[in-house]
């Protein structure tokens, strides 16, 4: 529960802000590119919807979460290693990998897909808000575009990606944090390395899953 609170509620604010602005910017930029009068304005909503669901919500949000949650996980475990708290747990006969790392992975698998769903909703809403506020697309047309040619498989794909990314975001930083050797400098290095490696693996997994599932 504690881990769910840390990963879920702790990241909710930044996820919400990013999602709203990503949706808003997507609407404005899509409208900017759609100059042909032959293409209906409601297409903007379709493009924003699919872009947010397929890519921005799962991938971009998870890259941000790799920084927010991943660095926290690496730092926490690194600090526990350096201050011998992990050794103290080992002395008590506790399997520290199961006790410390597994709850983080489980919490990530539970909360990150939920955050991605929230990001999808807020991203689309942000696009609608920006479109209507800027006069790019009326609300009724946006709603019409949202519901036309909707492919539910896209949501399944996005959630599949979010589960894969959740595992990466929790396990990679946990590995780097758990195996820290040294002091504060090494904790910082481990945290940075964890975020970089997580981001690269997220992008790699994104490509692999897209190639396999789409």
């Amino acid at each position: 529960m504690h881990q769910c609170t840390e990963i879920g509620f702790g990241s909710l604010g930044i996820v919400a802000i990013i999602s709203v602005f990503i949706g808003a910017v997507s609407t404005i930029q899509t409208a900017y590119q759609l100059v042909s009068p032959l293409i209906p304005v409601s297409t903007i909503a379709q493009i924003v919807r699919d872009t947010v669901i397929l890519e921005f919500a799962p991938t971009l949000v998870c890259i941000v979460l790799a920084g927010v949650a991943g660095s926290r996980i690496a730092s926490e475990l690194g600090n526990m290693r350096v201050s011998e708290q992990i050794d103290a747990l080992e002395i008590m006969g506790i399997n520290t990998k199961t006790y410390l790392i597994l709850p983080k992975i489980a919490a990530a698998l539970l909360m990150i897909p939920l955050l991605v769903v929230i990001a999808m909703v807020l991203g689309i809403w942000g696009g609608r808000l920006a479109g209507t506020a800027a006069g790019i697309i009326p609300a009724n047309l946006f709603d019409k575009g949202l519901t036309s040619d909707f492919t539910p498989y896209n949501v399944f794909f996005a959630l599949t990606k979010s589960y894969a990314f959740a595992f990466i975001i929790s396990s990679i930083p946990a590995f780097f944090g758990y195996h820290v050797r040294g002091g504060a400098l090494e904790i910082g290095r481990a945290s940075t390395k964890a975020v970089v490696v997580s981001c690269v693996l997220i992008l790699f997994a994104d490509y692999i899953l897209s190639a396999l599932l789409l």
């Binding site: 526990m80 201050s83 011998e84 103290a88 002395i91 008590m92 399997n95």
Partner: protein, 247 residues
């Protein structure tokens, strides 16, 4: 290492004291040799068997190793939660009893960050003994403490060793601790046992490496000077040895 006594491992920094201790408690696997607990080969046990032995081990780390996210009460209750089926009330009673024993009543709800160095060590000691362990390992328990608090910690460790009849093993390079509570002393040099004996033997040792180590301390500088005078026959030795080795 003998039961009911304070067994000290001394040596310069980097001599291998902490590595030896970590091998004893199973945090490190030795390259050669075995560790025996009451005749049982701990080194080659499987994880389940090691867990049974570890229930009987308490360890006081150099940095206390208190869990930051838990308060004092939760830290001390942690081993009880892991290894007993007692009710919360029984566990709390035990926690309060050990806190009283280490003279730290009333700090149950404080977090490690709110404690002084000496208080952290006492909480860590309380956590180490809450399960009435058979073996207590202390890795430089006086590290970072002032002389007065060091004395308090040393006396506490000694009292608990006698009271609970524990086999206590202490890593230290503090000669005050050696002369205060050392019943059996093992001197390490570059990863090997160089000398062993009691605190009385340590003053009269012929081992040059040991002498260079112990007489570097101001505390024993007088002892060294007196020893030189004894060896030259300028002063009788019996009276002086009693004064020097009296705890």
């Amino acid at each position: 290492m003998e039961t009911g006594r304070c067994n000290l491992i001394i040596g310069a920094s980097g001599s291998g004291k902490t590595v030896l201790m970590k091998c004893m408690v199973g945090l490190l696997r030795p390259d050669l040799g075995e560790v025996y607990y009451n005749g049982a080969d701990f080194t080659n046990m499987d994880a389940t068997q090691k867990t049974q032995i570890r229930k009987e081990i308490g360890m006081l780390f150099q940095g206390s190793a208190l869990f930051d996210s838990l308060n004092v009460e939760q830290n001390i209750m942690f081993p009880l939660n892991m290894f007993t089926q007692d009710s919360f009330a029984e566990k709390l009673k035990r926690v309060n009893a050990v806190l009283e024993r280490v003279n730290l009543e009333g700090v149950n709800k404080k977090f490690p960050a709110e404690l002084s160095g000496g208080m952290k060590k006492r909480v860590a000691l309380a956590r180490a003994v809450v399960l009435n362990p058979k073996y207590l390992f202390c890795d430089e328990p006086n590290s970072g403490l002032d002389p007065q608090t060091s004395l308090v910690i040393d006396k506490l460790i000694r009292e608990l060793t006698i009271e609970y009849n524990i086999t206590t093993v202490i890593n230290t390079h503090d000669m005050n601790s050696v002369m205060e509570i050392g019943d059996y002393i093992l001197y390490m040099y570059q990863g090997k046992k160089e000398w062993e004996g009691t605190r009385k033997d340590i003053i009269f040792s012929k081992n040059q490496l040991l002498n260079d180590f112990i007489f570097a301390s101001d505390f024993l500088k007088d002892a060294k000077d007196m020893r030189m005078l004894e060896e030259t026959g300028k002063i009788p030795n019996e009276r002086n040895m009693d004064e020097l080795t009296r705890p």
